[in-house]
């Protein structure tokens, strides 16, 4: 596993910060937000301080390469005997390398100094694979803010179909002026903090970051004595087919996706020990997600702990659900349900068992991680405990 977030640039630092209830959103320093209604976000300020913003590669590209490299090292892929041409790389993203055009538009003289391949978001997975020498399936995909989970399911499919013997699946996105303006126009940004599932929630907060996981067939991992964090037990990509920004009011896509992911895992709602919610902190998302959970879990809803990482991290866009999947694996490893930062007054309308204020100890055998995106993209995955 590899991760870069505002709460840490390595897995254990990130995980400890999350358990301590730290919040990584703050006043933005590298973006002029004076003309916007919101001035905060999950900015990787320290990393940006070290970059030459005129000449550096797109940050999303660097994040993808960094997390893929960390994940490959953690999985001990080098020298494992796996044929490099049988290792693939897939990244999910919302905007990919697109923010690089902002630099070119604001400073046309920098246009000739960049690498033209930066205009292609495919560079995310290509750069990572080039660094690592992997020649298997190589893709960048987008299902909006569900992209991270979609990368995981794409990788799982590639392994099941025999296209690869190992896959690095990640998500990567960076902040940009255009995205800040877009969410400002939608009046979707919280002015202070993100409060998922809270009665007083006021919106989401954009963030940047990346995460990557190494997936392989269980028998292969056991045979080479690789560390196993968990199993990808089920996944389901569906479309709401309803509205370009609003979720289906009854959570139709979310309900179908959760059911299909659990069915693939051979599980029922009663088997789920924790739901890592999409939980953006917008009024509409959280109530619709709660509706979908109730639809699937029924009376078991009140017995299933739910939390959202977005109170701590903000919304890392295409990276969000990969970060959340990574968190689910750590939660199962340590038997800890992470808390929902900034949720002080759980919304009774949602009627969920929201884990607030402090992490909760629990035996976690199967967890569900939800991800939804603009355009009605939905991809929920079920993750099982390591054997």
């Amino acid at each position: 596993m590899g991760v870069v977030t505002t709460l840490g640039c390595d897995v254990e630092t990130f995980w400890l910060a999350l358990q301590r209830g730290e919040v990584g959103t703050h006043e933005l320093e590298h973006f002029d937000t004076s003309m916007l209604a919101t001035h905060r976000g999950g900015e990787l300020t320290g990393l940006r301080d070290l970059r030459d913003e005129f000449t550096a590669p797109p940050l999303a590209l660097e994040l993808a390469t960094t997390t893929a490299t960390s994940a490959a090292q953690d999985a001990r892929l080098a020298g494992s005997g796996i044929e490099p041409d049988r290792v693939g790389v897939v990244f999910g993203t919302v905007m990919g390398t697109r923010p690089v055009v902002e630099r070119w538009l604001a400073n046309p003289q920098t246009q000739t100094g960049g690498d033209l391949t930066w205009t292609s978001s495919a560079a995310l997975s290509r750069a990572a694979a080039s660094r690592l020498g992997f020649g298997g399936p190589n893709c960048v995909i987008s299902t909006a803010c569900a992209s991270g989970n979609s990368a995981i399911s794409f990788a799982a499919d590639a392994l099941l179909s025999g296209q690869a013997d190992a896959m690095i699946a990640g998500g990567s996105d960076e902040l940009s002026h255009a995205m800040l303006m877009m969410f400002d126009s939608l009046r979707a940004l919280s002015p202070d903090v993100v409060r998922p599932f809270d009665t007083n929630r006021r919106g989401l907060m954009l963030a940047e970051g990346a995460a990557a996981l190494v997936l392989e067939r269980e028998s292969d991992a056991v045979a080479r004595k690789a560390p196993i964090y968990g199993r990808v037990a089920g996944w389901s990509n569906v479309a709401d087919a309803h509205h370009i920004t609003a979720p289906h009011p009854k959570g139709d896509g979310a309900t179908r996706s959760i059911r299909a992911a659990l069915a693939q895992a051979g599980a029922s709602a009663h088997d789920v020990d924790y739901v890592c919610a999409h939980g953006t902190g917008t009024p509409s998302n959280d109530i619709v997600e709660a509706t979908a959970i109730h639809s699937v879990f029924g009376t078991h809803t009140t017995h299933t702990p739910v939390s959202s990482l977005k109170g701590a991290l903000g919304h890392a866009q295409g990276a969000a659900s990969t970060i959340e999947a990574l968190c689910c694996l750590l939660a199962m490893r340590d038997g800890i349900v992470p808390l929902t930062a900034n949720c002080d007054t759980p919304d009774p309308t949602c009627d969920l068992d929201i884990v607030t204020r402090r992490p909760r100890a629990a035996k976690l055998r199967l967890v569900l991680s939800n991800a939804f995106g603009f355009g009605g993209n939905v991809e929920c995955i079920a993750l099982g405990q390591a054997p």
Partner: protein, 418 residues
């Protein structure tokens, strides 16, 4: 005789610089035309006006197809893809009813980029005004922002059609169309969808006008000349393509003609910059997956686009796999390079060839460059014998992808990437 695993193409829809539908494109490709709609486009406010020869889709063609379509804010790519989908569904004799289990897999390189740039430019321009405030809320339409995402065309398509199955966008350069095809085959085989719309779409964003294509020569090419000694780089074009895929048994039950079967798909990457090796791997892998020997392939629809290094690498890969006797055509000589849509334009040309039983020539090709391997590049149409054809795509970020198609419906076999 078909099996549950036979995946077939039952509909094609295209809007290209040649007009509406597959027929005008096929005619242009077959008649050895260079891209006829070479257009000069203006630059964008951020830079002095520049001209860029390119092949653009006529907006009037898109509007004609979408006549009667409900109003709503759709960006250029979403409109183009929707138009292609309408044509494809009609071709496949499908109505909007029963789309519950229909999925969508789309390839694009730039979808939404111009909308993204417009968003940013709005803010940049407002910053010059001393009294501007709350720019996001006062200057940006809430309808415009969501168009700036890569997934917007696929998402809009699902909303317009009520397609509730899998929905995914590949942004993987010129090979993305075959990636989308592979995803669709997997979705149909696993039962996650009963019908898949595989699409490719790109419109040339004004914001990229100042940028040369990768691997171009010093001069902007006025025409693509795949494999030719005088080639000087690719020429950009626009296109929207949709292929309707379903299981053969379903197509037979519906009584709809099967246009081609998808026998195998494979994709590889060259981490060491060796595009030839990656291409050889993807070609051999696809052929192996459906137990084909190279000599059984009747034609190769190559990805060559006039690129200096790319065409040479592909020619050497094709020579290594097929030798010098298999017919090779590069349709980008006529269609130019429509980026994320390009592989599906190639696929559409291949399906058209299977239907008409003719292999098109390579427009713009006269004599091979010295760096081009000895392969049999067609300069005139040639009859296509019954048998499989290969669509090969690559891009300058060093991915290669291969699809094997055949007129008759036969089992797809294992699609391993080995």
């Amino acid at each position: 005789m078909t099996t549950e695993t036979d995946i077939v193409i039952t509909g094609l829809g295209i809007v290209s610089p040649y007009g509406i539908g597959a027929a005008p494109l096929a005619r242009a490709v077959m008649s050895d035309q260079l891209a006829q709609r070479l257009c000069t486009t203006s630059g964008w406010p951020h830079a002095a006006a520049r001209t860029l020869p390119c092949a653009r889709v006529a907006e009037s063609d898109v509007a004609a197809v979408l006549d009667g379509e409900p109003r709503g804010f759709l960006n250029a790519e979403s409109r183009l893809l929707l138009a292609a989908a309408r044509l494809a569904l009609a071709d496949a004799r499908r109505s909007d009813d029963g789309m519950q289990n229909t999925g969508i897999a789309v390839s694009t390189r730039h979808a939404g980029l111009q909308d993204y740039a417009d968003l940013f430019w709005t803010g940049l321009a407002a910053a010059e005004e001393p009294t501007a405030s709350h720019v996001g809320r006062t200057r940006i339409s809430p309808a415009q922002g969501p168009q700036s995402g890569l997934n917007a065309p696929a998402a809009h398509l699902s909303i317009r059609l009520g397609a509730k199955g899998p929905n995914i966008t590949f942004t993987n350069g010129a090979v993305g169309g075959i990636d989308a095809l592979a995803y669709a085959v997997g979705a149909l085989r696993s039962g996650r969808a009963t019908t898949m719309l595989v699409g490719g779409v790109d419109v040339i964003p004004q914001v990229t006008h100042g940028l040369p294509m990768e691997d171009s020569g010093p001069d902007v090419p006025l025409a693509p000349r795949p494999f030719d000694r005088d080639r000087s780089g690719p020429l950009l074009s626009e296109a929207g393509v949709i292929a309707v895929l379903e299981q053969a048994q379903q197509a037979e039950i519906r009584g709809v003609p099967i246009q081609a079967s998808v026998r195998a798909v494979s994709a590889t990457f060259a981490p060491n910059r060796d595009l030839k090796r990656a291409s050889v791997r993807s070609l051999i892998s696809a052929l192996s997956a459906c137990s084909l020997a190279p000599h059984e392939v009747r034609a190769v629809f190559a990805g060559a686009n006039g690129s200096i290094a790319g065409d040479a690498a592909e020619s050497h890969a094709l020579h290594a796999v097929f030798g010098d006797s298999t017919a090779v055509c590069a349709v980008k000589g006529a269609t130019a390079d429509s980026l994320g849509a390009a592989a599906l334009v190639q696929l559409a040309a291949a399906v058209s060839s299977l239907r008409r039983r003719w292999i098109p020539p390579t427009a713009g090709f006269q004599s091979p460059g010295q760096d081009i391997a000895a392969i049999r590049i067609l300069t005139a149409p040639e009859p296509l014998l019954p048998g499989p054809v290969v669509v090969h795509a690559w891009d300058m970020l060093r991915c290669s992808a291969t699809a094997v198609l055949e007129r008759s419906s036969t089992s797809c076999g294992d699609q391993s990437g080995r």
